[in-house]
Protein backbone atom coordinates (compact mmCIF):
# COMPACT_ATOMS: atom_id res chain seq x y z
CA UNK A 1 0.00 0.00 0.00
CA UNK A 2 1.53 3.28 -1.07
CA UNK A 3 -0.88 5.70 0.63
CA UNK A 4 -3.72 5.91 3.11
CA UNK A 5 -6.06 7.48 0.62
CA UNK A 6 -9.24 5.85 -0.50
CA UNK A 7 -12.17 6.45 -2.76
CA UNK A 8 -15.69 6.72 -1.39
CA UNK A 9 -18.47 6.26 -3.92
CA UNK A 10 -22.13 6.91 -3.24
CA UNK A 11 -24.57 5.72 -5.90
CA UNK A 12 -28.35 5.76 -5.75
CA UNK A 13 -31.57 7.73 -6.08
CA UNK A 14 -31.02 11.35 -5.10
CA UNK A 15 -32.56 12.56 -1.86
CA UNK A 16 -32.03 15.26 0.74
CA UNK A 17 -29.32 14.67 3.28
CA UNK A 18 -27.00 12.22 1.53
CA UNK A 19 -23.98 14.50 1.51
CA UNK A 20 -24.65 15.69 5.07
CA UNK A 21 -24.85 12.13 6.38
CA UNK A 22 -21.77 10.87 4.55
CA UNK A 23 -19.56 13.82 5.41
CA UNK A 24 -20.81 13.67 9.00
CA UNK A 25 -19.52 10.13 9.36
CA UNK A 26 -16.25 11.17 7.74
CA UNK A 27 -15.80 13.93 10.30
CA UNK A 28 -16.47 11.47 13.12
CA UNK A 29 -13.67 9.24 11.87
CA UNK A 30 -11.30 12.18 11.16
CA UNK A 31 -11.37 11.50 7.46
CA UNK A 32 -10.49 14.44 5.24
CA UNK A 33 -11.88 15.10 1.76
CA UNK A 34 -9.05 15.59 -0.74
CA UNK A 35 -11.29 15.90 -3.77
CA UNK A 36 -14.98 15.55 -4.48
CA UNK A 37 -17.12 15.25 -7.58
CA UNK A 38 -20.86 14.84 -7.89
CA UNK A 39 -22.89 14.11 -11.00
CA UNK A 40 -26.07 12.50 -12.16
CA UNK A 41 -25.04 9.48 -14.25
CA UNK A 42 -27.76 7.42 -15.95
CA UNK A 43 -30.40 9.00 -13.66
CA UNK A 44 -28.43 8.05 -10.60
CA UNK A 45 -26.95 10.33 -8.01
CA UNK A 46 -23.23 9.64 -8.07
CA UNK A 47 -20.79 11.14 -5.61
CA UNK A 48 -17.12 10.27 -5.72
CA UNK A 49 -14.74 11.41 -3.03
CA UNK A 50 -11.02 11.02 -2.72
CA UNK A 51 -10.49 10.89 1.02
CA UNK A 52 -7.64 10.54 3.44
CA UNK A 53 -7.67 9.16 6.98
CA UNK A 54 -5.99 11.54 9.38
CA UNK A 55 -6.42 9.67 12.65
CA UNK A 56 -3.70 7.32 13.93
CA UNK A 57 -6.12 4.59 14.94
CA UNK A 58 -8.25 4.63 11.82
CA UNK A 59 -10.15 1.36 11.45
CA UNK A 60 -11.00 0.86 7.80
CA UNK A 61 -13.32 -2.08 8.46
CA UNK A 62 -15.33 -0.19 11.09
CA UNK A 63 -15.53 2.89 8.86
CA UNK A 64 -16.78 0.76 5.97
CA UNK A 65 -19.43 -0.90 8.10
CA UNK A 66 -20.69 2.44 9.39
CA UNK A 67 -20.83 3.78 5.84
CA UNK A 68 -22.67 0.69 4.60
CA UNK A 69 -25.25 0.97 7.39
CA UNK A 70 -25.76 4.64 6.55
CA UNK A 71 -26.09 3.71 2.89
CA UNK A 72 -28.79 1.17 3.65
CA UNK A 73 -30.76 3.73 5.65
CA UNK A 74 -30.45 6.30 2.86
CA UNK A 75 -31.26 3.73 0.17
CA UNK A 76 -27.96 4.29 -1.63
CA UNK A 77 -24.91 2.12 -2.27
CA UNK A 78 -21.81 3.39 -0.46
CA UNK A 79 -18.41 1.81 -1.08
CA UNK A 80 -15.05 2.60 0.45
CA UNK A 81 -12.06 1.26 -1.44
CA UNK A 82 -8.36 1.96 -1.35
CA UNK A 83 -7.42 4.27 -4.23
CA UNK A 84 -4.84 1.81 -5.57
CA UNK A 85 -7.66 -0.36 -6.96
CA UNK A 86 -8.55 2.27 -9.52
CA UNK A 87 -5.00 3.37 -10.18
CA UNK A 88 -3.81 -0.19 -10.70
CA UNK A 89 -6.64 -1.21 -12.96
CA UNK A 90 -6.60 1.73 -15.32
CA UNK A 91 -3.05 3.10 -15.28
CA UNK A 92 0.26 1.55 -16.22
Amino acid sequence: MTSTRFIITVIGIDKIGIVAKVTGIMAEYSVNIVDISQTIMEDLFTMIMLAEAKGDNFDMNDFQNTMQDAGEKLGVDIRVQHEDVFRFMHRI
Binding site: M1, I7, T9, I11, D35, S37, T39, M41, T46, I48, L50, M60, N61, Q64, D77, R79, V80, Q81, H82, E83, D84, V85, F86, R87, F88, M89, H90
Partner: protein, 453 residues
Protein backbone atom coordinates in the same frame (compact mmCIF):
# COMPACT_ATOMS: atom_id res chain seq x y z
CA UNK B 1 -9.11 14.20 -9.09
CA UNK B 2 -6.19 12.08 -10.24
CA UNK B 3 -8.41 9.18 -11.19
CA UNK B 4 -11.17 9.84 -13.67
CA UNK B 5 -14.71 9.34 -12.30
CA UNK B 6 -15.52 7.23 -15.36
CA UNK B 7 -12.73 4.84 -14.49
CA UNK B 8 -13.97 4.63 -10.92
CA UNK B 9 -17.50 3.88 -12.07
CA UNK B 10 -16.24 1.27 -14.53
CA UNK B 11 -14.41 -0.61 -11.80
CA UNK B 12 -17.39 -0.46 -9.47
CA UNK B 13 -19.72 -1.71 -12.16
CA UNK B 14 -17.41 -4.66 -12.84
CA UNK B 15 -17.67 -5.75 -9.21
CA UNK B 16 -21.28 -4.80 -8.61
CA UNK B 17 -23.05 -6.10 -11.69
CA UNK B 18 -20.56 -8.12 -13.72
CA UNK B 19 -19.30 -10.47 -11.00
CA UNK B 20 -15.66 -9.45 -11.15
CA UNK B 21 -13.88 -11.18 -8.33
CA UNK B 22 -10.68 -12.90 -7.46
CA UNK B 23 -11.60 -16.55 -7.76
CA UNK B 24 -8.85 -17.74 -5.49
CA UNK B 25 -5.79 -16.83 -3.51
CA UNK B 26 -3.94 -20.11 -3.20
CA UNK B 27 -0.97 -20.65 -0.94
CA UNK B 28 1.44 -23.31 -2.16
CA UNK B 29 3.22 -25.09 0.68
CA UNK B 30 6.22 -27.40 0.37
CA UNK B 31 5.80 -30.50 2.53
CA UNK B 32 9.06 -32.20 1.61
CA UNK B 33 10.52 -31.33 5.01
CA UNK B 34 7.69 -33.32 6.65
CA UNK B 35 8.83 -36.72 5.39
CA UNK B 36 8.82 -39.38 8.11
CA UNK B 37 8.66 -43.18 7.83
CA UNK B 38 6.14 -43.43 10.65
CA UNK B 39 2.62 -42.44 9.62
CA UNK B 40 1.46 -40.74 12.82
CA UNK B 41 4.56 -38.54 12.92
CA UNK B 42 4.19 -37.86 9.17
CA UNK B 43 0.61 -36.71 9.74
CA UNK B 44 1.65 -34.50 12.66
CA UNK B 45 4.40 -32.97 10.54
CA UNK B 46 2.18 -32.08 7.58
CA UNK B 47 -0.57 -30.76 9.85
CA UNK B 48 1.86 -28.52 11.70
CA UNK B 49 3.53 -27.24 8.55
CA UNK B 50 0.24 -26.35 6.87
CA UNK B 51 -1.14 -24.60 9.96
CA UNK B 52 2.14 -22.81 10.56
CA UNK B 53 2.32 -21.42 7.00
CA UNK B 54 -1.35 -20.72 6.36
CA UNK B 55 -2.95 -19.87 9.72
CA UNK B 56 -3.20 -16.22 8.68
CA UNK B 57 -4.13 -16.81 5.05
CA UNK B 58 -7.89 -16.40 5.39
CA UNK B 59 -7.85 -13.36 7.70
CA UNK B 60 -5.18 -11.63 5.59
CA UNK B 61 -7.07 -12.28 2.37
CA UNK B 62 -10.23 -10.92 4.02
CA UNK B 63 -8.41 -7.76 5.12
CA UNK B 64 -7.21 -7.19 1.57
CA UNK B 65 -10.72 -7.85 0.30
CA UNK B 66 -12.01 -5.09 2.59
CA UNK B 67 -9.21 -2.70 1.71
CA UNK B 68 -9.81 -2.88 -2.02
CA UNK B 69 -13.49 -3.81 -2.13
CA UNK B 70 -12.76 -6.67 -4.52
CA UNK B 71 -14.26 -9.98 -3.38
CA UNK B 72 -11.95 -12.98 -3.03
CA UNK B 73 -14.23 -15.96 -3.46
CA UNK B 74 -11.96 -18.76 -2.25
CA UNK B 75 -8.89 -19.11 -0.10
CA UNK B 76 -7.04 -22.31 -0.80
CA UNK B 77 -3.87 -24.24 -0.11
CA UNK B 78 -1.91 -26.52 -2.41
CA UNK B 79 0.74 -28.90 -1.13
CA UNK B 80 3.55 -31.05 -2.50
CA UNK B 81 2.07 -34.11 -4.27
CA UNK B 82 1.56 -36.50 -1.37
CA UNK B 83 2.75 -39.51 -3.39
CA UNK B 84 6.13 -37.79 -3.81
CA UNK B 85 6.67 -37.59 -0.06
CA UNK B 86 4.78 -40.62 1.21
CA UNK B 87 6.79 -43.56 2.51
CA UNK B 88 5.93 -47.24 2.51
CA UNK B 89 2.44 -46.46 3.70
CA UNK B 90 -0.65 -48.62 3.42
CA UNK B 91 -3.88 -47.58 1.75
CA UNK B 92 -5.34 -46.85 5.20
CA UNK B 93 -2.32 -44.67 5.97
CA UNK B 94 -2.97 -42.61 2.85
CA UNK B 95 -6.63 -42.26 3.80
CA UNK B 96 -5.49 -40.95 7.19
CA UNK B 97 -3.24 -38.44 5.40
CA UNK B 98 -6.26 -37.15 3.46
CA UNK B 99 -8.12 -36.85 6.76
CA UNK B 100 -5.20 -34.93 8.25
CA UNK B 101 -5.18 -32.55 5.28
CA UNK B 102 -8.93 -32.05 5.62
CA UNK B 103 -8.62 -31.33 9.35
CA UNK B 104 -5.83 -28.83 8.72
CA UNK B 105 -7.93 -27.16 6.00
CA UNK B 106 -10.89 -26.81 8.37
CA UNK B 107 -8.68 -25.54 11.17
CA UNK B 108 -7.32 -22.66 9.07
CA UNK B 109 -10.72 -22.00 7.48
CA UNK B 110 -9.81 -22.42 3.80
CA UNK B 111 -12.23 -23.61 1.12
CA UNK B 112 -10.15 -26.31 -0.58
CA UNK B 113 -6.80 -28.02 -0.24
CA UNK B 114 -5.16 -29.63 -3.26
CA UNK B 115 -2.25 -32.01 -3.53
CA UNK B 116 -3.49 -35.50 -2.71
CA UNK B 117 -1.73 -36.17 -5.96
CA UNK B 118 0.57 -38.42 -7.91
CA UNK B 119 2.72 -37.78 -10.99
CA UNK B 120 2.76 -41.04 -12.92
CA UNK B 121 3.14 -39.97 -16.56
CA UNK B 122 5.89 -42.47 -17.25
CA UNK B 123 5.39 -45.10 -14.61
CA UNK B 124 4.01 -45.81 -11.18
CA UNK B 125 5.96 -46.54 -8.02
CA UNK B 126 4.33 -48.77 -5.37
CA UNK B 127 3.73 -45.64 -3.25
CA UNK B 128 1.88 -43.94 -6.11
CA UNK B 129 -0.19 -47.06 -6.76
CA UNK B 130 -1.19 -47.18 -3.11
CA UNK B 131 -2.11 -43.48 -3.06
CA UNK B 132 -4.27 -43.87 -6.16
CA UNK B 133 -6.00 -46.89 -4.59
CA UNK B 134 -6.81 -44.65 -1.60
CA UNK B 135 -8.31 -41.80 -3.66
CA UNK B 136 -11.96 -42.98 -3.70
CA UNK B 137 -12.19 -43.39 0.07
CA UNK B 138 -10.03 -40.33 0.72
CA UNK B 139 -12.40 -38.15 -1.31
CA UNK B 140 -15.51 -39.77 0.13
CA UNK B 141 -14.32 -39.20 3.71
CA UNK B 142 -13.19 -35.60 3.33
CA UNK B 143 -14.82 -32.32 2.34
CA UNK B 144 -12.03 -30.03 1.21
CA UNK B 145 -9.29 -32.29 -0.08
CA UNK B 146 -8.73 -32.37 -3.84
CA UNK B 147 -6.81 -34.96 -5.76
CA UNK B 148 -5.04 -34.97 -9.11
CA UNK B 149 -3.05 -37.49 -11.09
CA UNK B 150 -0.78 -36.56 -13.98
CA UNK B 151 -0.81 -39.42 -16.49
CA UNK B 152 0.78 -37.84 -19.55
CA UNK B 153 3.33 -35.28 -20.68
CA UNK B 154 4.58 -34.17 -24.06
CA UNK B 155 8.08 -35.33 -23.12
CA UNK B 156 7.18 -38.79 -21.88
CA UNK B 157 3.96 -39.80 -23.63
CA UNK B 158 0.81 -41.23 -22.08
CA UNK B 159 0.91 -43.86 -19.36
CA UNK B 160 -2.04 -45.96 -20.50
CA UNK B 161 -1.80 -48.25 -17.47
CA UNK B 162 -2.44 -45.18 -15.33
CA UNK B 163 -5.23 -44.06 -17.67
CA UNK B 164 -6.91 -47.47 -17.27
CA UNK B 165 -6.48 -47.29 -13.52
CA UNK B 166 -7.96 -43.77 -13.34
CA UNK B 167 -11.10 -44.90 -15.21
CA UNK B 168 -11.68 -47.45 -12.45
CA UNK B 169 -10.73 -44.98 -9.73
CA UNK B 170 -13.24 -42.42 -10.99
CA UNK B 171 -16.00 -45.05 -11.10
CA UNK B 172 -15.21 -46.15 -7.57
CA UNK B 173 -15.09 -42.55 -6.34
CA UNK B 174 -18.53 -41.95 -7.83
CA UNK B 175 -19.90 -45.09 -6.17
CA UNK B 176 -18.56 -44.14 -2.75
CA UNK B 177 -20.22 -40.71 -2.98
CA UNK B 178 -23.36 -42.02 -4.72
CA UNK B 179 -25.71 -40.45 -2.19
CA UNK B 180 -24.37 -37.04 -3.28
CA UNK B 181 -24.48 -37.78 -7.04
CA UNK B 182 -20.80 -38.73 -7.17
CA UNK B 183 -19.48 -35.40 -5.87
CA UNK B 184 -16.16 -37.05 -5.03
CA UNK B 185 -15.35 -36.99 -8.75
CA UNK B 186 -15.68 -33.19 -8.75
CA UNK B 187 -12.59 -33.17 -6.55
CA UNK B 188 -10.50 -35.43 -8.81
CA UNK B 189 -8.62 -34.38 -11.95
CA UNK B 190 -6.59 -36.41 -14.43
CA UNK B 191 -3.93 -34.30 -16.15
CA UNK B 192 -1.60 -34.13 -19.09
CA UNK B 193 1.28 -31.66 -18.64
CA UNK B 194 0.06 -30.57 -15.19
CA UNK B 195 1.47 -27.17 -14.18
CA UNK B 196 3.31 -26.89 -10.85
CA UNK B 197 1.86 -23.54 -9.83
CA UNK B 198 -1.82 -23.80 -10.69
CA UNK B 199 -4.03 -22.05 -8.10
CA UNK B 200 -7.28 -23.59 -9.37
CA UNK B 201 -8.96 -26.66 -7.95
CA UNK B 202 -9.29 -29.51 -8.15
CA UNK B 203 -5.93 -29.72 -9.87
CA UNK B 204 -3.74 -27.51 -7.68
CA UNK B 205 -0.58 -28.95 -6.20
CA UNK B 206 2.71 -27.41 -5.12
CA UNK B 207 5.34 -28.52 -7.62
CA UNK B 208 8.82 -29.79 -6.87
CA UNK B 209 10.43 -26.73 -8.49
CA UNK B 210 8.56 -24.29 -6.25
CA UNK B 211 9.82 -22.38 -3.18
CA UNK B 212 8.89 -23.34 0.38
CA UNK B 213 5.78 -21.18 0.42
CA UNK B 214 4.22 -19.10 -2.33
CA UNK B 215 1.03 -17.17 -3.17
CA UNK B 216 -0.66 -17.83 -6.53
CA UNK B 217 -3.79 -16.04 -7.68
CA UNK B 218 -6.60 -16.95 -10.07
CA UNK B 219 -9.06 -14.35 -11.33
CA UNK B 220 -12.62 -14.69 -12.54
CA UNK B 221 -14.03 -12.28 -15.05
CA UNK B 222 -16.16 -13.80 -17.82
CA UNK B 223 -19.03 -11.48 -16.84
CA UNK B 224 -16.86 -8.42 -17.42
CA UNK B 225 -15.64 -9.64 -20.82
CA UNK B 226 -19.19 -10.61 -21.76
CA UNK B 227 -20.54 -7.14 -20.89
CA UNK B 228 -17.68 -5.38 -22.71
CA UNK B 229 -18.30 -7.32 -25.95
CA UNK B 230 -22.04 -6.81 -25.78
CA UNK B 231 -21.54 -3.05 -25.53
CA UNK B 232 -19.78 -2.90 -28.90
CA UNK B 233 -21.89 -1.74 -31.84
CA UNK B 234 -21.45 -4.02 -34.87
CA UNK B 235 -17.83 -4.89 -34.11
CA UNK B 236 -15.63 -6.92 -36.41
CA UNK B 237 -13.63 -9.77 -34.90
CA UNK B 238 -10.49 -7.64 -34.62
CA UNK B 239 -12.37 -5.14 -32.48
CA UNK B 240 -13.74 -7.94 -30.34
CA UNK B 241 -10.22 -9.31 -29.80
CA UNK B 242 -9.02 -5.82 -28.88
CA UNK B 243 -11.83 -5.36 -26.37
CA UNK B 244 -11.14 -8.75 -24.77
CA UNK B 245 -7.45 -7.87 -24.50
CA UNK B 246 -8.16 -4.56 -22.76
CA UNK B 247 -10.69 -6.13 -20.43
CA UNK B 248 -8.39 -9.06 -19.60
CA UNK B 249 -5.70 -6.52 -18.77
CA UNK B 250 -7.92 -4.79 -16.23
CA UNK B 251 -9.13 -8.01 -14.65
CA UNK B 252 -5.61 -9.35 -14.36
CA UNK B 253 -4.34 -6.13 -12.80
CA UNK B 254 -6.78 -6.70 -9.96
CA UNK B 255 -5.39 -10.18 -9.44
CA UNK B 256 -1.83 -8.89 -9.53
CA UNK B 257 -2.58 -6.14 -7.02
CA UNK B 258 -4.44 -8.42 -4.61
CA UNK B 259 -1.82 -11.18 -4.92
CA UNK B 260 1.03 -8.80 -4.23
CA UNK B 261 -0.68 -7.25 -1.22
CA UNK B 262 -1.57 -10.64 0.30
CA UNK B 263 1.94 -11.98 -0.23
CA UNK B 264 3.49 -8.80 1.22
CA UNK B 265 1.34 -8.96 4.33
CA UNK B 266 2.06 -12.64 4.86
CA UNK B 267 5.76 -12.27 4.10
CA UNK B 268 5.44 -14.97 1.48
CA UNK B 269 6.83 -14.93 -2.04
CA UNK B 270 4.42 -13.98 -4.83
CA UNK B 271 4.25 -16.72 -7.44
CA UNK B 272 2.01 -16.25 -10.43
CA UNK B 273 -1.27 -14.95 -11.70
CA UNK B 274 -3.19 -17.59 -13.54
CA UNK B 275 -4.66 -15.84 -16.57
CA UNK B 276 -7.77 -17.93 -16.70
CA UNK B 277 -11.31 -16.76 -17.19
CA UNK B 278 -13.03 -18.89 -14.56
CA UNK B 279 -16.81 -18.76 -14.89
CA UNK B 280 -19.26 -19.02 -12.00
CA UNK B 281 -22.81 -20.38 -12.12
CA UNK B 282 -24.11 -16.76 -11.93
CA UNK B 283 -26.08 -15.67 -14.99
CA UNK B 284 -23.86 -13.75 -17.43
CA UNK B 285 -20.61 -14.80 -15.73
CA UNK B 286 -20.23 -17.35 -18.46
CA UNK B 287 -17.66 -18.24 -21.10
CA UNK B 288 -20.47 -19.68 -23.25
CA UNK B 289 -22.22 -16.28 -23.16
CA UNK B 290 -19.05 -14.60 -24.40
CA UNK B 291 -18.92 -16.98 -27.37
CA UNK B 292 -22.58 -16.29 -28.05
CA UNK B 293 -21.92 -12.54 -27.81
CA UNK B 294 -19.49 -13.02 -30.70
CA UNK B 295 -22.36 -14.11 -32.91
CA UNK B 296 -23.13 -17.77 -32.25
CA UNK B 297 -26.78 -18.70 -31.81
CA UNK B 298 -25.85 -21.22 -29.15
CA UNK B 299 -22.51 -22.36 -27.75
CA UNK B 300 -21.39 -25.63 -29.34
CA UNK B 301 -22.57 -24.90 -32.86
CA UNK B 302 -20.16 -24.68 -35.81
CA UNK B 303 -17.77 -21.78 -35.25
CA UNK B 304 -17.53 -22.29 -31.49
CA UNK B 305 -13.95 -23.57 -31.61
CA UNK B 306 -12.87 -20.56 -33.70
CA UNK B 307 -14.56 -18.09 -31.37
CA UNK B 308 -13.01 -19.79 -28.35
CA UNK B 309 -9.55 -19.69 -29.95
CA UNK B 310 -9.91 -15.93 -30.40
CA UNK B 311 -11.10 -15.48 -26.81
CA UNK B 312 -8.38 -17.62 -25.29
CA UNK B 313 -5.58 -15.91 -27.17
CA UNK B 314 -6.86 -12.40 -26.50
CA UNK B 315 -7.17 -13.12 -22.77
CA UNK B 316 -3.54 -14.23 -22.69
CA UNK B 317 -2.31 -11.23 -24.66
CA UNK B 318 -4.10 -8.75 -22.40
CA UNK B 319 -3.26 -10.58 -19.21
CA UNK B 320 0.42 -11.11 -19.97
CA UNK B 321 0.95 -7.34 -20.05
CA UNK B 322 -0.87 -6.85 -16.75
CA UNK B 323 1.16 -9.21 -14.63
CA UNK B 324 4.85 -9.62 -14.00
CA UNK B 325 4.58 -13.39 -13.53
CA UNK B 326 2.09 -15.50 -15.37
CA UNK B 327 1.65 -19.23 -14.91
CA UNK B 328 -0.73 -21.97 -13.91
CA UNK B 329 -3.31 -22.97 -16.47
CA UNK B 330 -3.85 -19.57 -18.09
CA UNK B 331 -6.71 -19.73 -20.55
CA UNK B 332 -10.48 -19.72 -20.74
CA UNK B 333 -12.11 -22.47 -18.69
CA UNK B 334 -15.08 -24.38 -20.03
CA UNK B 335 -16.40 -26.31 -17.05
CA UNK B 336 -19.93 -27.33 -17.93
CA UNK B 337 -21.55 -27.42 -14.50
CA UNK B 338 -20.00 -24.13 -13.36
CA UNK B 339 -21.14 -22.10 -16.37
CA UNK B 340 -24.84 -21.28 -16.79
CA UNK B 341 -24.38 -20.69 -20.53
CA UNK B 342 -22.74 -24.10 -21.03
CA UNK B 343 -25.52 -25.81 -19.09
CA UNK B 344 -28.14 -24.06 -21.23
CA UNK B 345 -26.27 -25.05 -24.41
CA UNK B 346 -26.23 -28.73 -23.36
CA UNK B 347 -29.93 -28.60 -22.49
CA UNK B 348 -30.70 -26.93 -25.82
CA UNK B 349 -28.86 -29.74 -27.60
CA UNK B 350 -26.20 -27.53 -29.19
CA UNK B 351 -23.27 -28.71 -27.10
CA UNK B 352 -22.12 -32.30 -26.76
CA UNK B 353 -19.07 -34.14 -25.52
CA UNK B 354 -17.46 -34.35 -28.97
CA UNK B 355 -17.63 -30.57 -29.46
CA UNK B 356 -16.33 -29.94 -25.95
CA UNK B 357 -13.36 -32.16 -26.74
CA UNK B 358 -12.64 -30.16 -29.89
CA UNK B 359 -12.90 -26.92 -27.91
CA UNK B 360 -10.30 -28.13 -25.42
CA UNK B 361 -7.69 -28.22 -28.16
CA UNK B 362 -7.69 -24.40 -28.29
CA UNK B 363 -8.31 -23.43 -24.68
CA UNK B 364 -7.59 -24.24 -21.09
CA UNK B 365 -8.10 -26.81 -19.65
CA UNK B 366 -10.07 -29.81 -20.77
CA UNK B 367 -13.23 -31.80 -20.23
CA UNK B 368 -14.18 -30.20 -16.97
CA UNK B 369 -17.10 -30.89 -14.65
CA UNK B 370 -18.92 -33.12 -17.08
CA UNK B 371 -21.57 -35.52 -15.83
CA UNK B 372 -22.10 -38.74 -17.78
CA UNK B 373 -24.58 -41.57 -17.11
CA UNK B 374 -23.93 -43.70 -14.04
CA UNK B 375 -23.67 -46.86 -16.13
CA UNK B 376 -20.75 -45.50 -18.21
CA UNK B 377 -18.04 -48.17 -18.01
CA UNK B 378 -14.60 -47.59 -16.53
CA UNK B 379 -13.02 -48.33 -19.91
CA UNK B 380 -15.15 -45.66 -21.63
CA UNK B 381 -14.07 -43.12 -19.00
CA UNK B 382 -10.46 -44.19 -19.52
CA UNK B 383 -10.89 -43.78 -23.27
CA UNK B 384 -12.31 -40.27 -22.81
CA UNK B 385 -9.28 -39.49 -20.63
CA UNK B 386 -6.91 -40.97 -23.23
CA UNK B 387 -8.35 -38.75 -25.99
CA UNK B 388 -7.96 -35.65 -23.85
CA UNK B 389 -4.43 -36.61 -22.81
CA UNK B 390 -3.53 -37.06 -26.49
CA UNK B 391 -4.70 -33.50 -27.24
CA UNK B 392 -2.52 -32.18 -24.42
CA UNK B 393 0.48 -34.28 -25.33
CA UNK B 394 0.49 -33.42 -29.03
CA UNK B 395 -0.32 -29.72 -28.57
CA UNK B 396 2.24 -29.25 -25.77
CA UNK B 397 -0.43 -27.89 -23.46
CA UNK B 398 -2.15 -28.75 -20.22
CA UNK B 399 -5.33 -30.75 -20.58
CA UNK B 400 -7.40 -32.38 -17.91
CA UNK B 401 -10.46 -34.50 -17.34
CA UNK B 402 -12.84 -34.02 -14.45
CA UNK B 403 -15.76 -36.30 -15.19
CA UNK B 404 -18.59 -37.52 -12.98
CA UNK B 405 -20.31 -40.81 -13.84
CA UNK B 406 -23.34 -39.85 -11.75
CA UNK B 407 -24.65 -42.99 -10.05
CA UNK B 408 -28.16 -43.93 -11.16
CA UNK B 409 -28.49 -40.99 -13.53
CA UNK B 410 -29.29 -41.15 -17.22
CA UNK B 411 -28.84 -38.69 -20.11
CA UNK B 412 -30.94 -35.56 -19.68
CA UNK B 413 -31.12 -35.72 -15.89
CA UNK B 414 -29.54 -33.06 -13.72
CA UNK B 415 -26.86 -33.42 -11.08
CA UNK B 416 -26.74 -30.75 -8.34
CA UNK B 417 -23.42 -30.08 -6.61
CA UNK B 418 -24.15 -26.64 -5.19
CA UNK B 419 -21.90 -23.62 -4.67
CA UNK B 420 -19.17 -22.92 -7.19
CA UNK B 421 -19.41 -26.51 -8.49
CA UNK B 422 -22.88 -25.78 -9.88
CA UNK B 423 -25.31 -28.02 -11.72
CA UNK B 424 -24.46 -30.55 -14.42
CA UNK B 425 -26.81 -31.95 -17.07
CA UNK B 426 -25.93 -35.59 -17.72
CA UNK B 427 -24.38 -35.90 -21.19
CA UNK B 428 -24.35 -38.89 -23.50
CA UNK B 429 -21.24 -40.87 -24.44
CA UNK B 430 -20.60 -43.24 -27.36
CA UNK B 431 -22.32 -46.57 -27.06
CA UNK B 432 -19.46 -48.31 -28.90
CA UNK B 433 -16.82 -49.99 -26.75
CA UNK B 434 -13.21 -48.87 -26.23
CA UNK B 435 -12.52 -51.70 -23.83
CA UNK B 436 -9.97 -53.58 -25.94
CA UNK B 437 -7.84 -50.48 -26.47
CA UNK B 438 -7.77 -49.66 -22.78
CA UNK B 439 -7.05 -53.29 -21.83
CA UNK B 440 -3.88 -53.27 -23.92
CA UNK B 441 -2.13 -51.01 -21.41
CA UNK B 442 1.49 -49.92 -21.77
CA UNK B 443 2.50 -46.46 -22.86
CA UNK B 444 1.77 -44.28 -25.86
CA UNK B 445 5.25 -43.07 -26.88
CA UNK B 446 6.11 -39.40 -26.63
CA UNK B 447 5.53 -37.54 -29.88
CA UNK B 448 8.45 -36.29 -31.91
CA UNK B 449 9.08 -32.61 -31.21
CA UNK B 450 11.53 -31.73 -33.93
CA UNK B 451 14.32 -33.29 -35.93
CA UNK B 452 16.67 -30.44 -35.13
CA UNK B 453 19.40 -32.36 -33.32
Amino acid sequence: MLIHPKEIMETIQMVKTENLDIRTVTMGINLRDCIHPEISQFNRNIHNKIVECAHNLVSTAEDVEILYGIPIRNKRVSVTPIASIGGKFTKEDFISIAQTLDDAASEIGIDFLGGFSALVHKGMTPVEKTLISAIPEALANTEKVCSSVNVATTKSGINMDAVALMGKTIKETAQLTAERDGIGCAKLVVFANAPEDNPFMAGAFHGIGEPDCVINVGVSGPGVVNAAIRELKNPDLGEIAETIKKTAFKITRMGEMVGREVSKRLGVEFGVIDLSLAPTPEVGDSVASILEAMGLESCGTHGTTAALALLNDAVKKGGAMASSYVGGLSGAFIPVSEDAGMIAAVERGSLDLAKLEAMTSVCSVGLDMIAVPGNTTASTISAIIADEMAIGMINRKTTAVRIIPAPGKIVGEIVEFGGLLGTAPVMGTHSFSSEELIKKGGRIPAPIQALTN
